[in-house]
């Protein structure tokens, strides 16, 4: 058991390393010019050498500041007729590119070793010190930015998941054990409804109809949301006003997940009830209800636990839409905005955080699964 556990834990840094490589690779292949982005955010980013806009010196200065003049990776494979160091300034780069492409030679790749003096290495070195760098947009520390956003999202996620799981599981069991078929059918349809309604639609409808007096004052049941009242002092004041902000989003997320969880619970229970041991229990004299709640439940709950571990990262990612609609400064909105402006430091920070959370939660769920089902314990890596 311990061996299994340590093998799993050792995977985590390996996976994180691969994620870092994937993101780095993607960030270098997406058609963006980071230096231009920085220049544009700082002043004019018009491409000329004259009166206004940036000069070549400006460009190279910023490139050097951000290590963008170094090669990308530890090694490189280049055709033998390409020069060793490439130009950085866009117009120089284009010229060089065109010139080289014109020579239609087939040359074999030559291995070029860059050593530790490359962007990837320096970036990793910073990360290992805990320095995620600064965001290109506002110059703030990435860790601060992410921490602020994280607080919002984690509250939203944890409360929604807790509520939806507790309610969903109860609902699933309820519809299996109750004698009132019509109520069970009703809840079944309700679950379908909640799961199938697109979240952004649901959220927008709630926002339009239920927060203002437009359609009659009786619909004005949810608090108007905008931002936290900055004049509120003290813990309870802040808690109350952020609670207001989060009420509707939590409601929407919970209801959506609820539908899914209760359906899953019900189908999982159906599977268990079909198994031989359930029939044995019934023939032993247990009531249907207690068979389900005592025995069937324990086995049916396991796939749901697996769901729990995938629900956390899923909800974090899926919160993009909710956070945009309800104006919550959380992780989803942060990663969306950062990718749009190619602020890779922030993007990686968020992905890193989510990756750690995901790995840990999957680890826990796999352990639980392996603990309960010895058949798959040995093989699942």
């Amino acid at each position: 058991m311990l061996w299994y556990l340590s093998k799993r834990i050792l995977r985590i840094p390996f996976v994180l390393l691969s994620i870092s490589f994937v993101i780095f690779y993607i960030s270098k292949n997406v058609p963006q010019d980071t230096v231009l982005n920085i220049l544009e955010l700082e002043g004019k980013a018009e491409q000329n050498n004259s009166t206004d806009g940036y000069t070549k010196v400006d460009y190279l200065q910023i490139a050097k500041q951000n290590n963008l003049d170094l090669p990308n990776f530890y090694f490189g494979l280049r055709p033998s007729h390409f020069p060793k160091n490439r130009a950085i300034f866009p117009s120089d780069k284009k010229q060089e590119n065109e010139y080289l492409q014109q020579e239609k030679r087939i040359s074999f790749p030559v291995f070029q070793w860059n050593g530790a003096n490359n962007q990837y290495h320096k970036w990793l070195a910073n990360i290992s010190k805990g320095n995620f760098g600064i965001s290109f947009i506002d110059g703030k520390q990435v860790s601060n930015k992410i921490w602020d956003a994280f607080q919002w999202t984690i509250i939203l996620v944890i409360i929604s998941i807790l509520l939806s799981f507790i309610l969903g599981i109860s609902l699933g069991v309820f519809s299996k054990t109750t004698k009132q078929r019509r109520t069970a059918e009703f809840f079944k349809m309700l679950s379908y409804l909640l799961y199938a309604i697109p979240v952004f639609w649901f959220a927008t409808i709630m926002l339009i109809f239920f927060t203002t007096d437009d359609y009659g004052s009786w619909t004005n049941i949810f608090p108007t949301i905008s931002v936290i009242d900055p004049t509120e002092q003290g813990f309870w004041g802040k808690f109350a006003s952020s609670g207001k902000l989060l009420l509707l989003p939590i409601l929407v997320t919970t209801l959506h997940a609820l539908g899914y969880i209760s359906r899953q619970m019900e189908s999982s229970l159906s599977q268990e009830i079909g198994k031989p041991y359930a029939r044995t229990a019934l023939s032993k004299g247990l009531t249907y209800r207690s068979m389900v709640t005592k025995h069937g439940f324990k086995n049916a709950i396991l796939p749901i636990i697996t769901l729990l571990s995938s629900a956390i990262p899923g909800t974090i990612a899926g919160s993009v839409i909710i956070e945009t609609i309800f104006n919550i400064p959380g992780l989803g909105r942060l990663i969306f905005q950062s990718i749009m402006v190619a602020d890779w430091n922030v993007v990686f920070g968020v992905v890193f955080l989510v990756a750690i959370i995901t790995s840990v939660s999957f680890l826990i769920s796999d352990l639980l699964y392996a603990k309960s089902n010895p058949k798959i314990r040995l093989d699942t890596a």
Binding site: L16, R86, P313
Partner: protein, 393 residues
């Protein structure tokens, strides 16, 4: 195949199953017939050049030219296509209020959007987009997921044996392919000619085919840890939020459109199917009938196709149905955010996003949302019924 027939019969046996099947069927039919039901060019035009069929010729070769002077025409039921701009009725005209139209035939029965595009036509054409994107994305994801999931589940870490030569060939091919694809990455240049990529792919393919046919030249066999690699891929996928892949992939494609969306969604969905399939295969592998087939000497290929897949088809179909609905939902969400489709295209998601500009346009929120909801629930229900069918057997 008989299984599919049996599944259909099962679904039709349930009342709600019938409704769900009807919904999906109507989705197909509407998406095929949309250009004939709602279009701004006539179906039949009789002029001095003879009888022409403008709608058909537009579908056939994209040209919407037809002689202007038609002596008599047969127009489609709804005289607008989803892109027809009727600026007189711009600014979000409601279906309930008076409209500036020449006759009742030209009335916008479900309202318009900011530019006066007909909402009903948008619904009809949007079904085609939802269907195409959902179906193809789910299909591609399904095929890739099944292939990789089965391979990984069956071969595990220990079964796939390659000899030394095959391993070297594989390694070189991967390196070459990687070099071609990552040329820009390693050296910061963009390569114009892709023929080298093509050559590498061909070499890789022949290498792969080679390894299944080569005789064992050297006796030393090295176990190829397929399962570990696949699991590593799955973990990386799980940890990175979907939105990241989606945004990045969409920015890579030069022209936004259905193709880019299909590929992006398929890219994001296949690990889910793969993981699910792998779990199922793992369970099935331990079953007795597989073990007996193995001991009786059937080749891996036989076992996989004849026994494993047949039994795993159930859960696979369930996941297909669910990924179909997930793909439709994903497309709607992306169109809602303004990503993926070209500016002229109208889909259910893009109609929903117009509500953001004008809350009063409830018809733009209600009808497309309802359509998405119906299709998704129908697909989900069908998926569940398939699951039930296989649970019972």
């Amino acid at each position: 195949m008989q299984i599919i027939k049996r599944i259909f019969r099962f679904i039709r046996g349930r009342k709600r199953g019938r409704i769900a099947l009807w919904i999906i069927l109507s989705l197909f039919i509407i998406s095929l017939l949309a250009p004939f039901i709602a279009n701004d060019i006539p179906l039949v035009c009789s002029s001095k050049n003879g009888i022409e069929f403008p709608v058909l010729s537009k579908l056939w070769n994209g040209s919407s030219q037809y002689s202007d002077a038609c002596t008599w025409t047969v127009k489609p039921l709804i005289p607008y296509s989803q892109k027809s701009i009727d600026i007189q009725n711009g600014r979000f005209v409601s279906p309930l209020e008076g409209q500036v139209v020449s006759s009742l035939r030209y009335r916008h029965w479900l309202g318009t959007d900011a530019l006066g595009r007909d909402s009903l036509a948008g619904l009809l054409y949007g079904s085609g987009i939802a269907l195409r994107i959902g179906l193809f994305a789910a299909l591609i994801a399904f095929l890739i997921g099944i292939f990789i999931g089965t391979a990984s589940g069956y071969f595990g870490n220990n079964s796939l044996k390659l000899n030394f030569v095959q391993l070297i060939i594989l390694f070189l091919c991967v390196l070459l392919l990687g070099y071609q694809l990552s040329f820009g990455f390693f050296f910061g240049y963009e390569k114009d000619s892709m023929w080298e990529v093509g050559a590498s792919i061909i070499i890789l393919l022949s290498g792969t085919i080679g390894f299944s046919k080569t005789q064992n030249l050297l006796q030393q066999n090295i176990r190829f840890p397929l399962d570990n690699i696949v699991l590593w891929i799955f973990e990386v996928y799980k940890s990175i939020p979907n939105i990241f892949f989606i945004l990045v992939l969409l920015s890579i494609f030069a022209k936004p459109g259905i193709t880019s969306l299909v590929l992006t969604i398929a890219f994001v969905i296949w690990p889910i199917i793969g993981r699910y399939t792998r779990a199922e295969i793992l369970k099935l592998k331990e079953e007795d009938f597989i073990k007996s087939a193995e001991t009786s000497g059937a080749s891996s290929w036989n076992i996989i196709t004849k026994h494993l897949l047949l039994n795993a088809i159930g859960p696979a179909l369930v996941s297909f149905a669910f990924s179909f609905s997930a793909a439709i939902l994903l497309e709607a969400s992306l169109s809602f955010l303004g990503l993926g489709l070209a500016v002229e295209e109208v889909s259910w998601g893009s109609m929903l996003s117009e509500v953001k500009n004008n809350y009063r346009a409830w018809w733009l929120a209600l009808f497309p949302g309802l359509a998405i909801f119906l299709v998704i629930s129908a697909l989900n229900y069908i998926g569940e019924l398939i699951g039930e069918y296989f649970d019972q057997n």
